[in-house]
């Protein structure tokens, strides 16, 4: 019985003004991707695809956070969540319904912005024949899928925060910090794993970063853009493990969210 909450999330999500704002942001970022190709002497399409995928990720993360804030955070804040909780069903259904609703909305946004980026890249650098063309088929859509999974993990985190937060906008702020931290983690870990360019001061943090990976998922593992950009297919094992890591982490957060939401008392 969770799906009515997803449906209402969809309706509310599509009607919301803020969504249009984020959508406009997405379109602007795709425009930036198109223009960034001008800075590339040898690989305009690759650069516009690269910048476009960066823009897509930012948009999807903002979409996910915005919807969690709008559909759960604000309902809790305004106490309108109580109407939903008067139905004779467990509270978890409300939370899961909302989460899957958000996932659906983000998937729709991924598809739309992905298509837009696809068109943008097709029309970039038409005057110049690149020595190494970009791959806009399966590699491209796999990458978009990876970014969607990335946004889904961030959404689960924001959802969990919103179940105990008593401060408005906290899920949004913490969610953003989580997205930045998780995505940066890969770069930092790789830098340290390769000896930090001989910087011993920095190497002292290596154990800390190793430990942090138990708490924070390495979201950069879900970024497979070297595949469409350079034909460097990701390692199959790394891809599957990355997805398992993301799915288990998101599911864990959902369980934590259900626990803290079921215990929460609304006055």
């Amino acid at each position: 019985m969770w799906w009515p909450f997803s449906l209402s999330a969809w309706r509310a999500g599509l009607r919301s003004r803020g969504v249009q704002g984020v959508l406009i942001l997405g379109v602007v970022l795709m425009g930036a991707a198109y223009l960034s190709a001008l800075f590339s002497p040898r690989q305009p399409r690759t650069v516009s695809l690269d910048v476009g995928l960066s823009g897509l990720r930012v948009s999807l993360i903002l979409f996910a956070l915005f919807w969690v804030q709008e559909l759960v955070g604000r309902e809790i804040e305004r106490r309108s969540v109580l109407f939903a909780l008067t139905y004779p069903i467990p509270r978890s259904h409300y939370l899961l319904g909302r989460y899957f609703g958000v996932l659906g909305l983000v998937a729709l946004a991924s598809l739309l912005l992905g298509l837009l980026l696809w068109v943008v890249v097709l029309f970039t650098g038409t005057h110049y024949d690149q020595a190494f063309p970009v791959a806009l088929g399966l590699p491209f859509w796999s990458t978009v899928f990876g970014l969607w999974v990335d946004a889904a993990v961030v959404a689960a985190f924001a959802l969990w925060v919103s179940t105990f937060s008593t401060v408005p906008m906290l899920p949004l702020a913490l969610g953003l910090a989580f997205a930045v931290g998780g995505k940066s983690l890969g770069a930092v870990a790789e830098y340290l794993a390769r000896g930090a360019d001989g910087d011993f001061e920095l190497m002292r943090f290596a154990p800390v970063i190793n430990a942090v990976q138990w708490l924070l998922p390495d979201l950069s593992r879900l970024d497979w853009r070297a595949w469409p950009m350079y034909g460097l297919a990701p390692d199959g094992k790394a891809m599957v493990l990355g997805l398992v890591m993301a799915a288990s982490y998101a599911a864990l957060l959902l369980v934590l969210a259900v626990i803290s939401f079921s215990r929460r008392e609304f006055q």
Binding site: P41, L176, G186, Y191
Partner: protein
Amino acid sequence: MVTGMLRWRVAALLLTIVFVASVENLKPTPRQSVSAEIQIALPLFAQVAVTLGDRNLAANIAYIRALVVVPDKMLPEEFAILGKVQKDVSWLNPAHEDNYYTAFAILPNYGEVDAAQTILARASRTRFYDYQPSFFYAFNLYFLKHDPAAAAEWLQKAAEKLTDDDQRLIMQNIAARWVDRAEDLNLAIQVVEAMAKQARRKDFRSYLETRARRLQMLQQLRAADAKFREKTGRTPVRLEELVISGLLPALPQDPFGFGFEFDKRGIIMLRTSPPKL
């Protein structure tokens, strides 16, 4: 109440005076620098953090910074920063095609050969299908680092990435010729012999084996030359003197017909063209 309002007005007036005075005094004060070129390289983590953890985006932004500089207007120390910025780009995204290309085109001319080599080596590792990073790396080794043997090895790597058989052969041939210039003949012979073993075409393999043989002849000549100097205390004027003095049974016959000669420093070298008759 009135005194309260008055107090606020006085405060506003005082602040306005302070503000206008500071603006007027600031205008003629010289700025720290008017150079619009590259002056700082942000730490890698800061670059990743400002792009919300997106290392590819960080790479693109840093690359655009490196691209818009005008080398003619830059100070020598700014090239070190440019080298650092481009090296950062190659760490963030080693496969970045524009980055390795401009690094090769600009950095070595301004003393940043090592930065360029780091960037090219990273690009070569990641872009397994692109011969150019290895080719540029070899080029710098040969012309700037004066290390023909290592250059030949890298050129060989570049050749292996070429899909066209003829082009590959041409490049392998250049690699073999570069080895001739190596100071360390033992190493040069080893490199050419290794190349011969890897050669797929039979005729090319035997060509490389001939080149190795030629290098062995050169080695033989140099050894005799050293003995000659030790014995007589002078430098031979002609190669024939090595035979006359009994150090060599006969002069080795260059299979290519070019022969051997003394260079300006008095060291025996391979001739690069047939002797004039």
